[in-house]
Each structure stands twice: as C-alpha cells, then as structure tokens.
C-alpha cells in the first residue's frame, strides 16, 4: 500500500470519527433546545400556582418532589448500607454475588417493575394507587446506583487511612464514621443525586403504581394517588386541545431543567471529591 493510500485512509477514518463525535454531542443540545423552544410560550408563573386541572403543574411538581424525597429516604439508607457492607464487611466469597444481584436489579426494565408493583402492591396488598407503591417501585430502580456509588466511593479512600485507623486499634464503626466516610461522602452524595435524578425522570414504573390525581399530594402513604410531572407529559400530549399540549411541553421542560440542575450538582460534587481524594493520596 503506498503512502497516498495510507493518508487517504487515515483522513477518511478520522472524518468518520468526527461525524461520530458530532452525533455524540449534538443530540443533547438538540433535544434541550427544541424542547425549550416548544415550551417557551407555555412557561409562566401559573404553572407553579395552579393544579393540573386548572392549567398549572403545582400538584405534579410537589408530587414529583415528594416521590423523590421518599425514594431518598428509602433507597438512600438501604443503598448506602448495602454499599458499606460490600466495601467493608463482605467476605471475598459473598461480595461478588451480592454485587451481581444489585447489577442484575439495575438491568430490569422499568415497565416490569411497574407491572409487578401493580400486581403485588396496588391489587395484591390493596394499597391502591398510592405514594408508597410509587416510592417502592422507584426505589427498586435507583437502589443499585446508590449501592454502586457508595461501594466505589469507599474503595477509593486511600488504603493508608484505613491501615492507620486499624493500627490505632479503632473499632470498625469508628473508623468508618471518622476516617472513611468523610472523604467518601461527596461521592456517596453524588450517588444520591443520581438516584434523585432518575426518580424524577421515570414514568413507566409509576403509571400503574402511583396513579395520577389533579389534587395536591399529601403525606398519606396508601389509598391516595399522586400526580407527577412525567405523567403529565405522557398523558396530556394524548389529550385534545392546544392547552393540554402546552401543559405537556411545560411539564417536559420543567422535568428536564430539574434533571439538568441535578446532573450539574452531581458533577460539581464529584469534581470536588476527586480533588479532595487527590490531595489526600499525595
């Protein structure tokens, strides 16, 4: 093969890679821009003050936040506990299995979680469409992410710290609380932020567990459906009338803005934690 052919092939390959990179970077911008453009006329203060049957999103926004907080309260401690066990206590024999179960759980399609939630919680246990059914379904989906970020965060703590604590004869719980958790905390918080983001954006697991209502959500756990943003996107785009469609756009835009904010927050925290751990390992 001569030199010219080589160069042509070289240029061709990198040109194709360039197209690939363009296709990698453009969709996020395209989606966000087109959604903000479509929803711009629908964005107003009324969205925050009126409920969904009055052309607002108040109940859906508070419902989404309530569901996300519930997930945080449930999947947070369980996931962190599970992550701590994997990083600090599990025997070499059991750790791969426990990790595997969590990974497999992460791969289960969200609609399957929603369907089983309907069968078992809503109908089987007679909970009805309810806050708790929605929180449980979402928690199952985000749990593996909390587990994974916690375990990775603890493993990234420099081993010198752990050894130092051991040499001092500190009990494990003290080591964990005073030595390991502080440097790992930012990364764990990032995991929780991811969990928040995913529970804000999910629809399929909620349709038949949380139900939907135009009323403001309450703290009642059972027998009372909850409204949430993504349901408005899915339902109102199918309803007649420009008004309903505007509401769907607005709900999509607000969901997206929430998620962008959470993603940015997650990045900021993890960047700080990386700097912290770099400083410590020097």
């Amino acid at each position: 093969m001569n030199q010219v052919q080589r160069q042509v092939r070289e240029a061709l390959f990198w040109a194709l890679c360039g197209i690939g990179l363009l296709l990698l970077c453009l969709p996020a911008l395209a989606i966000i821009a087109s959604l903000l453009k479509d929803s711009w006329p629908a964005l107003s203060l009324k969205l925050l003050t009126a409920t969904t049957n009055q052309g607002g999103l108040r109940n859906a926004i508070t419902g989404t936040l309530l569901l996300a907080l519930g997930v945080l309260a449930l999947a947070g401690p369980v996931g962190i506990g599970c992550g701590i066990y994997l990083a600090e206590f599990a025997s070499p024999g059991s750790a791969p299995w426990l990790r595997f179960f969590s990974e497999i759980l992460a791969g289960i399609p969200s609609i399957v979680v929603g369907y089983v939630g309907y069968l078992v919680l809503v109908v089987g246990l007679h909970w009805g469409y309810s806050l708790l059914a929605g929180i449980l379904a979402l928690s199952v989906i985000v749990l593996p992410y909390v587990v994974k970020t916690t375990e990775v965060a603890l493993r990234q703590v420099p081993s010198t710290l752990r050894e130092g604590a051991d040499a001092l004869g500190l009990p494990r719980s003290t080591t964990l609380r005073r030595v390991l958790l502080p440097p790992a905390l930012p990364a764990i918080v990032t995991g929780l932020v991811i969990a928040l983001a995913f529970s804000t954006g999910e629809t399929a697991p909620l349709l038949y567990t949380a139900g939907f209502t135009d009323q403001d959500p309450t703290l009642q756990l059972l027998h009372r459906p909850v409204g949430y943003l993504t349901a408005v996107v899915f339902t109102d785009i199918q309803l007649p009338g420009a008004q309903a469609h505007q509401l769907a756009y607005a709900a999509a835009a607000i969901t997206l803005l929430l998620l962008i904010a959470l993603t940015m927050a997650g990045r900021a925290i993890s960047r700080r934690s990386r700097r912290l751990s770099e400083r410590m390992s020097v």
Partner: protein
C-alpha cells in the same frame, strides 16, 4: 371521559362544598378495573360492563352521566362531505375495499369524482371507548365483522399491510393528517381539531338509510330512539338506532360505581355527586365544552333508581 370530569371538578366543589372530585387519568379498562378493585370510588368508562363482568361483579352499577358520539374522518384533498356506510367501513378495515375509487364507495357518492388512492385505515392502539363504539357499528352493519373481531375496547383487528395505529384521539388526527388516503374514527370531543387539521367529516348512513354528520340534533335523535328501551341495568349500546335523523355512532358515558360502599358517608357523598351530575351539573356549557349531550329525560328516572341503590 377525563376532560369532562376535569371540567366538572370545579363546579361540583362550588355546588356541593363538602365534596372534592379528584379525576385521574387512564382509559375505560382502568376505570372499570379500578371500580371493581375499589382503588377508586367511581370509574369512568365509555363502555358498559360485558355480560361476563356484570355477572362477576353484581354490585357494580353502570351509571350514565352524559352522551357522546364519534365522527368518521378522512384525508382526501378536495372532497368534502363524503358519504359512507358502516358496511363500507368494515370492508375497509377488513381489507376488502382498498382504494377510494372502489365501486361500493362510488355507488353511495353519485357525482363525486373519487381519486385513485389507497385507503389507509387508522385504528386506536390503546384500550378505548372510541374503539368500542366504532366496532359496535361495524358489528351491526357487517356480518363478517360480527362473526370475526366483533366489538370491544380493543378487538382482534384483521391484519392489514400498511395499516396505521394511534395512541389517543389527538394522535388519530395527527396520523390521519400526515397520511393522505386515511380513514379514522375520532371522538366528537376533538372533532373541531380534526376539522381544522383539514380532515373531511363523513356523512354516515344510519339504520333508516339517511346520511348524517354528528350534530346536537342528530345525536339527540339517536338517544331518544334508544331511550325507549333502555334496560334497568343501563347497559345499552346506542349505536345504529332507529329513526330517520339518528346519528349512528352514539354512546353513554358511564361512571362505574360499587353499590356497596365501605361507609354511609362515602355512599351519601357519591350519591349526591351523581345526582348533581345528571341534574344541575349537566349544564349546556359544561357539556358543550367536550361536545357531550345531556341524558334524555326518559332515561333519568332509571339512572336515579340506580343511584338510589348505592348504600353502605
């Protein structure tokens, strides 16, 4: 059903201050199942309970609170007020009539130059009361359809190459608008949107042989004709009724309510809402917002009798 209940939520709270109506989304199937399962107090549905479901759930009442209808729309440039029959529609969805210049269509449209264009039938993919009443008409007018798919909120549609589906009424309009040659069934609550999208509204042949479009008058005529023999359990199809001016695709909008409620207060609240919804609540402006029609006076006593059965 949902848009109407959402419309009622505010006036009912004004009229009966101790009541709050909390409508939630979902199709007819969810409405029926939720009422059976007790996850809601009243389940909205365009379709009445099937015999099997009625036998299984003897305490579940079918309470109509309004009347709705359905238009047949099509996308053919320059052709307005096309005439069509239930039989022709059935044959379109059975793939027996595949082109708009078919002799059967020409026979009912004398003087109209029909284009040589493939027919694209559109159907709903979700469980829908619209599918229920549309397939009821096909069942009433075409023997092969009656023996085959028959009617329901979702049926075994004959497999058509090139058929299209839509999820929800607005999507029906969107799909039909995007596909010249389409034919679609669309609830009257969104008919204005269909017309402004440039779709034609067909004149549909009724049992007496007249070709009609859905209007307040033709819908009311069909209801009056059907109301003479409404059964006490109120499970009745209003499709393809007698009468020269009766529009052929009309239906009751139901709320499914369990006659055995958990406590007396709930029962009383449900009764007062239902009574309100068929009397003071059924104002022309409430109904017109979704192009519904109020219940005929001859049916109201039977509905009131059904409401009276609700107790603790």
């Amino acid at each position: 059903m949902l848009p109407y209940l959402q419309k009622l939520a505010s006036p009912v709270h004004t009229a009966l201050s101790n009541l709050t109506l909390e409508p939630s989304g979902g199709g007819s199937g969810k409405g029926i199942a939720d009422a059976i399962g007790g996850t809601v107090q009243m389940g909205g549905s365009d379709a009445y309970l099937s015999d099997a479901q009625a036998t299984q759930n003897p305490t579940l009442l079918n309470i109509p609170i309004a009347i709705s209808a359905q238009a047949i729309n099509y996308n053919l440039a320059g052709i307005k007020d096309l005439k069509i029959t239930g039989d022709i529609l059935a044959k379109m969805y059975e793939h027996h009539i595949t082109n708009w210049n078919d002799p059967a269509i020409a026979a009912v449209n004398p003087g109209v130059t029909l284009p040589n264009q493939a027919i694209i039938p559109v159907r709903r993919v979700d469980a829908s009361g619209d599918t229920f009443i549309f397939t009821s008409l096909l069942t009433a007018t075409n023997a092969e359809w009656k023996a085959g798919p028959a009617f329901g909120t979702s049926v075994t549609w004959p497999a058509l190459p090139g058929e299209l589906t839509a999820n929800g009424n607005p999507a029906m309009i969107q799909v039909c608008k995007a596909n010249p040659g389409c034919v679609a069934y669309i609830g009257v609550s969104v008919e204005q949107a269909a017309l402004s999208a440039g779709l034609g509204e067909a004149l549909l042949q009724n049992k007496a042989g007249t070709f009609l479009q859905p209007t307040q008058d033709t819908i009311t005529a069909a209801v009056s004709a059907g109301a003479t023999n409404t059964p006490n359990d109120l499970r009745q199809s209003l499709v393809y009724e007698d009468g020269a001016q009766s529009y052929p695709i009309v239906n009751f909008e139901y709320l499914m309510v369990n006659s055995k409620q958990s406590d007396a207060n709930t029962a009383a609240a449900i009764k007062s809402f239902l009574t309100w919804s068929i009397t003071a609540g059924a104002t022309p402006s409430n109904l017109a917002s979704v192009d519904f029609v109020s219940l005929p006076t001859s049916v109201v006593p039977k509905v009131e009798a059904a409401i009276a059965k609700i107790g603790a």
